[in-house]
């Protein structure tokens, strides 16, 4: 069948090794930095072998950083909680609103349905600040600036189009005949939706929810513009952290590790759904 020479196999192996090193090195390096004290971090040349310490993590978790100059308060745990709360709530709200809407788009061709769908799709690609900057002024007038409700509302702009488009595609793939058969059996519209459509579209809903969570968690600009310190998620918090605590590189690394672990763990745990969602969202819809 396929005959590959030894040379080619060596070259392929070398290329793959380089690829893995390039894409894995930053994560591994930051992970290692997070277990070092500032002294070992600042040593030149950089050390591969060091005595690991948990001091950075305890400082973040207890919120107290003890330095020679005195004790410093760190609000990083607050940022982490904000990220968890904002992402989870936004995705839950999005699923609640978006899945029935996706079903309506897939099953009922009504007047204006394509217009709504098209508007949502084309604005999925519009620059975020185009919408966000006027919103900041509106939010200040409405009293929604720097509130969780306001942020969750705005996060719908990330989650809802994604869920609508991916889940709609899954609903469209379910043959309508199955649902008709169930309806003829005398079941209500809602029972059909719950017992037939929802379970069949389950993998799609899971993929969409997972992607929406990751996009919400990784979002930066929405919270940068609309939230102040006590409501900020990790993406914005970690940036502020750098300037406020100066040169505590160990803690910054530990903060980055804590911030990226949830999405990485989710991605690894459910990578099949994720790949499906990504390719569907891009190619099929």
């Amino acid at each position: 069948m396929e005959h590959t020479s030894l040379l080619e196999r060596i070259l392929r192996g070398a290329a793959l090794t380089l690829v893995v090193i390039f894409f894995m090195f930053p994560i591994v390096w930051i992970f290692m930095m997070s277990f070092q004290t500032n002294e070992t971090i600042l040593r030149i040349p950089p050390q591969l072998i060091f005595e690991p310490t948990l001091a950075n993590y305890t400082a973040l978790i207890t919120g107290k950083l003890i330095t020679a100059a005195g004790t410093l308060d760190i609000a990083f745990m607050r940022n982490l909680w904000n990220s968890v709360f904002l992402s989870t709530t936004s995705v839950a709200v999005s699923l609640l609103l978006g899945v029935p809407a996706a079903y309506a788009f897939a099953r009922h061709k009504f007047r204006g349905s394509e217009d709504i769908a098209f508007t949502l799709l084309s604005f999925k690609f519009a620059p975020a600040l185009l919408v966000l900057l006027p919103l900041t002024l509106y939010f200040q007038k409405l009293g929604l600036a720097n509130t969780y409700i306001g942020l969750i509302w705005v996060y719908q702009l990330i989650c809802l189009p994604l869920i609508l488009w991916i889940v709609r595609g899954y609903f469209e793939d379910i043959p309508a005949d199955i649902e008709y058969a169930y309806r003829i059996g005398g079941h209500s519209w809602f029972a059909t939706f719950r017992k037939i459509a929802l379970p069949l579209a389950g993998p799609g809903i899971a993929a969409a929810g997972l992607l929406a969570f990751i996009f919400a968690w990784n979002n930066f600009v929405f919270a940068l513009v609309l939230a102040s310190a006590d409501k900020q998620p990790v993406t914005v918090g970690a940036l502020a952290f750098i300037t406020s605590s100066g040169i505590q590189y160990g803690q910054i690394s530990a903060a980055i590790v804590l911030s990226i672990t949830p999405t990485l763990a989710l991605a690894l745990y459910a990578q099949r759904y994720l790949v499906e969602g990504l390719s569907l969202g891009a190619v099929k819809g």
């Binding site: 069948m1 396929e2 290329a15 900057l133 990784n218 993406t235 590189y249 991605a267 891009a282």
Partner: protein, 307 residues
Amino acid sequence: MTAVVSQRPKPSGFRISKRVLPYVLSLPALLVCIGILIPFLTSVVYSFQRYRLSQPWARQFNWGDNYISFFTDPKFWNTLKVSLLYAGTTVVLELLLGLAIALLLQKRSTLNNFISIMLLMPLMTAPALAALMWKLMTNPGFGVLSYLASLIGLQDFRWASSPSTALFTVVLVDIWVYTPFIMILLLAGLRSLPTQPFEAAALDGVPRSFVFFRITLPMLTPYILTATLFRLLDSIQQFDIIYAMTQGGPGDTLTVFQVEAYLNFFQSTNVGRSAALMIILWAITYFLSNIFIKNWLRLRERARGQA
């Protein structure tokens, strides 16, 4: 049949609800549309105004002045140039690299699947945090990459803090984050190609370069187009990586559209100019996304037709 009909509880009520139901269900989507359209129209209005947050009393319509002044504004041309350069460089490099990696991982094996899962990790890292990670690694004092650069003779390589290498550095971070995206799409494409043409080519002893350029590449084109346009739309709007890394600096080296609009709004409080910048960026993305949506709908039809 009669039994079924008699089971229907209230025929008239059911009919009305059936007509209203889709509208009720899609109400949230409609609300989101309105929620997007109102600020969008507000932006259009702002872009035709002289509007500075610091001088609210001087707010008035100046119609096209914000746009007209762009023609003679070197800062605007710099923004346009940097944005296009950034988008072009990242997309071309990520496409080449993503295609190469997808080809390397094409064969289904435990090792290849494991590597492709590992490569998901940069994509799952928040771009703003990825920029922070690279900022730590390129720190002139202790950064491991600065150290490695000095080993290969690049003494005092300043990465993102020097105007001559700042673009290179943010492009590198963009490549690190987003190449896996293209790789995943193209890998899915490669693995879904029909096998017959390749078997026939192998049987006929066709050279592999011919197979690649005449069979693989044309069949992969829809995937490549989709991935390219997706990335292009995203990349021309890049904010997170550049803002987290350099805040548009040093100087105005990296003031791409969104960064420039953000700085205009919050630092010089020039809402009118900021809105006009966003409208121009929107026009560019609208043009690109129209191409994309048409192509995407066609692909969707084709995918349906084959299924």
